[in-house]
């Protein structure tokens, strides 16, 4: 197993070589093709995953089939940690490969065993989960308090500042808790108002101050 791949994982970045050598024995490398399912909501939790490369989408399905994408995660992130701590042991969400994905998987029992044996690992997991929780709080805030127009503006600013790949209108809709037509309509409005510009496969934001005002509901 390549040491450099281990160092790509955020959760392992500050862990000593000694502890890393123990963790390494519990990791198994796997790859997934674009679009394939990695795990399903409500299935028993069997593995924890650490993304070496590629991107995954974490999503929930409403009874009417509508998807809510909770997060798009990239290289270095870890997922399916929460159910490993619960007695019910079921996965909380669906995860699929948004691109070709390479990851490490760790058996759930090995994970809990290593948490008990390695305080350094436990602290790294707690730190990582605290940061993930803060991100989820932001998402809940966005979905519950902001209009679709505000959500789209906020999303565009975040993507322009820290791009995480290319997005279709449908992917934006699923990420923002709305439908594709609505995203298309708001993007056209922004274009007509001169706030964004379409240049072939690029959406270019013209003015940060205006977009921030829209995101805050002031425009």
């Amino acid at each position: 197993m390549s040491k450099s791949d281990l160092h790509k994982i955020q959760l392992f970045s500050r862990i000593s070589q000694e502890t890393l050598a123990i963790l390494e024995t519990a990791l198994r490398r796997k790859s997934f093709s674009k679009g394939s399912a990695i795990l399903w909501e409500k299935d028993p939790c069997r593995y924890i995953y650490f993304l070496i490369s590629g991107e995954v989408e974490v999503y929930l399905l409403a009874p009417n089939g509508r998807e809510q994408v909770l997060e798009r995660m990239g290289a270095g992130e870890a997922f399916n940690l929460v159910p490993a701590f619960k007695h019910t042991l079921n996965n909380h969400a669906n995860v699929r490969a948004a691109t070709v994905v390479e990851l490490f998987e760790m058996n759930k029992d090995d994970f809990t065993d290593l948490l008990e044996r390695l305080p350094e690992f436990s602290l790294a997991v707690a730190d990582y989960m605290a940061r993930r929780l803060a991100k989820m709080v932001n998402l809940v805030e966005d979905l519950s308090l902001l209009s679709v127009r505000q959500r789209i503006a906020s999303f565009l600013i975040k993507q322009a500042d820290t791009p995480t790949g290319r997005w279709t209108q449908d992917e934006m809709a699923r990420r923002l808790g709305t439908v594709r037509d609505m995203v298309g309509r708001v993007l056209r409005q922004f274009e007509d108002e001169g706030f964004i510009r379409f240049e072939h496969h690029q959406i270019l934001l013209v003015d940060r101050e205006t977009m921030q005002k829209i995101a805050l509901g002031e425009k």
């Binding site: 565009l156 993507q159 322009a160 791009p163 290319r166 997005w167 279709t168 209108q169 449908d170 992917e171 594709r180 037509d181 298309g184 510009r197 379409f198 072939h200 496969h201 690029q202 959406i203 270019l204 934001l205 013209v206 940060r208």
Partner: protein, 68 residues
């Protein structure tokens, strides 16, 4: 167009209804023997009207997002 970028068509979802053919302002798309095809790809401006017109969600345009 020097950097030819075309919308993606999911032929499994496409029902060959022709809505996108009607919507395209540059006649880039046509149904060729009931299969949606790019007949004038060089004229595509990636305006996404085909995507917006598709009732099946069979066409998608992906974008990079950045500052002008």
């Amino acid at each position: 167009m020097s950097d030819l970028e075309l919308p993606k068509i999911n032929q499994k979802k496409c029902i060959a209804c022709g809505a996108c053919v009607e919507a395209c302002p540059n006649q880039v798309l046509e149904l060729v023997e009931e299969v949606l095809s790019f007949v004038r790809p060089q004229d595509c401006t990636y305006c996404a009207l085909c995507e917006e017109s598709c009732p099946q969600g069979a066409i998608s345009c992906s974008y990079e997002i950045g500052w002008a």
